[in-house]
Amino acid sequence: MSIEVVSNVLFSTLRVMTPLLLAALAGLISQRVNLLNIALEGLMLFGAFFAVIFGAHFENPWMGLLSSVLLNSAITLVFAFAVIELRANLIVAGLAINTLALGLTSFLLAALFDMRGAYSPSGLQSLPHITLPLVSAIPVIGPVFSGHGILVYLSWVLVVLTSILLYQTPFGIHLRAIGEKIEAAETAGIAIKRTQYIALLIGGILCALAGSQLAIGDLTLFNDSMINGRGFIALAAVFFGAGQPGLTTFGCFLFGLFEAIQYRLQMAASIPPQLPQMLPYLIVVISLTAISFQKYLKDRRTV
């Protein structure tokens, strides 16, 4: 394999891991307040939909991004209200959000734009791409790290910010306290509901970014199957990383790598495309199994 192919695959790994990473950060923060957020999938689809619709309407991708963030926050607040105040079962409510995202986006697409399943408005620009000033000049590394969409770089900043938030701020201590032992956190006077609201809200915003990256990051297209389980792969990355930002990022990189490899295989080989398409899903299930197996062996040794 030539060095060019490797740097090509790594470049697209960084690109395709971004939505996973943003959604995984969302999942990680809710995981830390003991809320298993399976609505990531639906929230990403909503995020992608709003980004395209409003980006085209205002003829400005930034307005698309902003609308996506605002509307996703509103949807997340309703979801959070149901879960926190009305004590809705978290998984069932998450399933409702996922179903609603599928139904409502296709319905609105057909009802308002007379489009079936996919929408690519003309005149919609993607978000800007950035050529890193010094890095781009370095031979092998430059083409891998430079020239990505702006959300790719933002996602890296957000990983650092999430780590700081979790481990260096009082809010992060509250988050983790609720996740470790909710009764103790309550006794210590931590505002549990408020913290859970904020955690879910941050998640909704991150999912808006994740959806926007897919919809207007590189392409300018909405497609009702564009998320295709990425929300659940992101959740798997959180399990894989045991809730640590660094390990979770590594999980996203790993899953992104196999996604990039499968695109490459689809282009290069003469096998039917469905086989490489299965690869990322299988890799996720296998990695989760491997992680659990390792834990199982460790537990047995200590016993």
Partner: protein, 366 residues
């Protein structure tokens, strides 16, 4: 996750002290009221969505029910649409009742459908009843084993079943698509489908010109068997015990792992049979991507009736009406059929909220 599902059933239990008209585990008056109320809210939400996007809601609902109940054929088509949902909702009921979040039935449905089609177009010389039995058995075994995989991963290694079952669905859907595009590609056909199955493997049509077929009868029989198992057998008792409190079940001598294995296997069998019914009764071949999320509709039904198998039987029929009406509604009133998904989402959302717990909580405060 287990704690959440068991808290649902605990709430049901406390309600039993108020209403003694319990029959087959479903408290008829409050449950019926709750389902009707939830449905009313869903239709209202649907009307709002249509009104906002400038569609005539009354006309759309009229078209929906006209085309699903308006004639003999329309009713037959609704029952046809309900057939796979009957299977998948029973699968969801059994899994949720045991506290297992098995959403991998969609994968079993695809693999089971392909297995039935393969037997149907390969062993064409067999007698009809032998061939039909073989097709059904193949789909049941393939579907069952497929769901057993995430079950074993959960039991042996503690891998979360919700994420694995959902991701394995994608694997199953893509794999069957690969099969009809690769090894089982039929030259000259639009390439996302298999050969036709032998005439002997086809299930009898009950009310032509509707495609309603024998698989509907099979589905009803299976649903009745599930109701019987859940309420009248040791296995049903064990499933309910495991769902209510796995620790207590373990202490009272129930083999929890074995119960969960059985639950996953049965769920897969039902998914496989649902797929086989579509192949052997409707399409007469395997078509890639043929299911519009039939297993997820089953999940919706199970959640709406709070895992009562009898309730699922009735509500699955209702969902058949929605599904078959939705397709025609689109043609007659230019309201996209995706509206049905919006209705389903609203139903799931309000099924998640416990109206009862709200009222009770307020009462306690007073």
């Amino acid at each position: 996750m287990k704690a959440k599902t068991s808290s649902l059933s605990n709430a049901d239990k406390s309600r039993k002290t108020f209403f003694l008209n319990e029959w087959f585990g479903i408290q008829i008056i409050p449950s019926t009221l709750r389902v009707i109320l939830t449905l009313a809210i869903a239709f209202l939400m649907g009307a709002i969505v249509m009104w906002v996007s400038g569609k005539d809601a009354l006309q759309a609902y009229n078209a929906l029910f006209q085309s699903s109940l308006g004639s003999r054929t329309a009713i037959a088509n609704s029952l046809l649409a309900a057939t796979p949902i009957l299977f998948t909702s029973m699968a969801a009921v059994i899994a949720f009742r045991a506290g297992v979040f098995n959403v991998g039935v969609e994968g079993s449905l695809y693999l089971g459908a392909f297995a039935a089609a393969w037997v149907g177009f390969t062993f064409t010389n067999l007698q009809s009843w032998v061939l039909i039995t073989l097709c059904l058995c193949a789909s049941a075994i393939v579907g069952g084993v497929w769901c057993l995989i995430p079950g074993l991963l959960k039991l042996r290694l503690g891998v979360d079943e919700l994420v694995t079952t959902i991701l394995l669905n994608y694997v199953a859907i893509l794999f069957t698509e690969y099969l009809v595009n690769g090894p089982f590609l039929v030259p000259g056909l639009a390439n996302a489908m298999s050969e036709q199955i032998a005439p002997g493997a086809r299930l009898v049509r009950l009310m032509p010109p509707s495609q309603l077929n024998l698989s509907f009868i099979i589905a009803i029989v299976v649903a009745i068997i599930v109701i019987y198992i859940m309420h009248k057998t040791t296995l049903g008792y064990e499933i309910r015990m495991v769902g209510d409190n796995p620790d207590f079940a373990r202490w009272s001598g129930i083999n929890v792992s074995s119960v969960i294995e059985k639950v996953m296997f049965i769920g897969g069998i039902l998914g496989g049979l649902a797929g086989a019914g579509q192949v052997m009764g409707v399409h007469y071949r395997f078509i890639a991507g043929f299911s519009p999320g039939l297993a997820f509709t089953g999940v919706t039904v199970a959640l709406l009736v709070r895992n009562s198998p009898l309730g699922a039987l009735l509500v699955a029929l209702l969902f058949g009406i929605l599904r078959s009406g939705g397709a025609t509604m689109e043609l007659m009133s230019d309201v996209p059929r995706d509206l049905i998904r919006v209705l389903e989402a609203t139903l799931i959302f309000f099924a998640a909220i416990e109206f009862g717990s709200l009222i009770r909580r307020r009462r306690r405060v007073n």
